[in-house]
Point group: C2
Chain length 251, copies 2
DNA sequence: CTATGTTATCGAACGTCGTTCGAGAATCGA
DNA sequence: TCGATTCTCGAACGACGTTCGATAACATAG
């Protein structure tokens, strides 16, 4: 370690991922990890118990090894989260592979956005760490590019295209982050249903002065039994309608 | 403290905020705080050095007191951040007070959204903690209501109105969170300008294969000298154009 | 002025977290 | 067989959020 490049961390030379605990024959001495196992377990931990559950100690316990071992694969927690994000995004890329050839580019754009939304909304931790470099992680850049290619087909100016993709991507992240934010009891404990949870808020809204909060009283019934996916799709359609309008009437 | 209600924390009975260090005459013995001072210094700390700078110890040092004193005003760090968020939102409410009487409701909605965006984008910490109950904190609810009242004037159905306001609010938060995310050097050290920062990313984009990343190569010039506010306004106009279309052509 | 109860401050400690360090086990190439 | 590399891990460090109990400052009643 004198002057060479930085340590080639985590590049398991043997190729295949090794996630086993120890040798088959001898008594188990040391655990054996792999970058894939580390990231995979990190994602599982985040999915199961949320962001604060991902600690190096919990992850090490899950891997059956020591805490410091993880630092051979990732430099710090930021990189761990970056790689976890990228790992999930890879799944979105696979899911949206076919959404590129419709006659209507906006249909493709919508399909990609809906798929991305579905992935984020069931992973509240992802929203917060997604925007910490939308297009720095390789798969994030690929997703950005894939959405952009649909917009290119609309024949807008480069500036309009740039704004359009940023708008759609920001919208997806913003709504998903907002919606994937609810329950301390419901999902984790399962004692309170989602309807009860919404009903409790709706009751608070109804208790407010109708003269001071006319809008809340108009929409409280909609709020009480709204569906997250419907809400997202309705907003996305507004945005895409504006985009289609721009494509039809160039300034 | 036998059976009464919970302790009435932080309600400084004397009314006026006391932020002084100690008595005027005698040697200083103890610091004297107030809820306003605690929240104000917390916001200042967040604004100056970002989210990780807000620690109870740093805040206590800034207030010239002990760490445990802060716990008399807030129950935990979550409440501290909730109150800090609400404190900033109060400023937005003041700024948008006049944006309610235009002939075109969409103009009002746009003005409120732009004002909120401006506030969030210069406070990256706010985006992450804003969505942790968009409408639970009192001022957040008021802002939601104010935007909703403009939408009401469009004469949409309750469901459409509900979706429209959620879409605009989510869009603002999503874009602001995405954009307020950049520099470890620029703002903090001041060594690298924003243009240099963008140019570095642009160079990376240009180094990619044009056949695999056609969209990135089309928009890289726009990206290299884009303005955050312009980008936001362009996306918002797309969304509002879609909303206007819906108001004109009811389904 | 003294006594008493409430309001508010704070030093010290606890447990957990991310991170570092160095020893040493496992593996590979020659 | 042996040296170099790759990888694991126990132990420690400092910083963090939070709690507890002692006690100072203040308001009021007698």
């Amino acid at each position: 370690m004198t002057a060479g490049a930085t340590q080639a961390r985590g590049t398991a030379r043997a190729g295949a991922a090794r996630a086993g605990a120890a040798r088959a024959g001898g008594g188990r001495r040391r655990a054996s990890h792999s970058l894939e196992a580390v990231i995979g377990e990190a994602v599982a931990l985040l999915d199961e118990a949320g962001e604060p559950a991902l600690t190096f100690r919990a992850l090490a316990a899950r891997l059956g090894g020591g805490v410091a071992s993880i630092y051979w694969y990732v430099a710090n927690k930021d990189e761990l989260l970056d790689r976890a994000t990228d790992h999930v995004l890879a799944g979105v890329l696979v899911d949206t592979e076919g959404f590129t050839g419709s006659p209507d580019p906006i249909d493709d754009l919508r399909a990609i956005a809906v798929s991305l939304f579905g992935t984020i909304v069931e992973r509240p931790w992802l929203a917060a760490y997604f925007m910490r470099d939308t297009a720095t992680q390789p798969n994030g850049l690929l997703l950005y590019e894939r959405m952009g290619q649909q917009v290119l087909r609309l024949g807008l100016t480069p500036r309009q295209s740039f704004h359009a993709v940023s708008a759609v991507l920001g919208f997806v992240i913003g709504i998903a982050a907002d919606l994937g934010q609810q329950p301390p009891q419901e999902v984790l404990d399962g004692k309170v249903t989602r309807d009860d949870f919404l009903a409790r808020y709706a009751a608070e809204w109804r208790a407010l002065d109708p003269a001071a909060y006319p809008f809340l009283h108009v929409v409280v019934d909609e709020f009480a039994d709204h569906d997250d996916a419907d809400q997202f799709r309705a907003g996305l359609d507004l945005l895409l309608a504006g985009l289609r309008l721009q494509a039809q009437n160039p300034d």
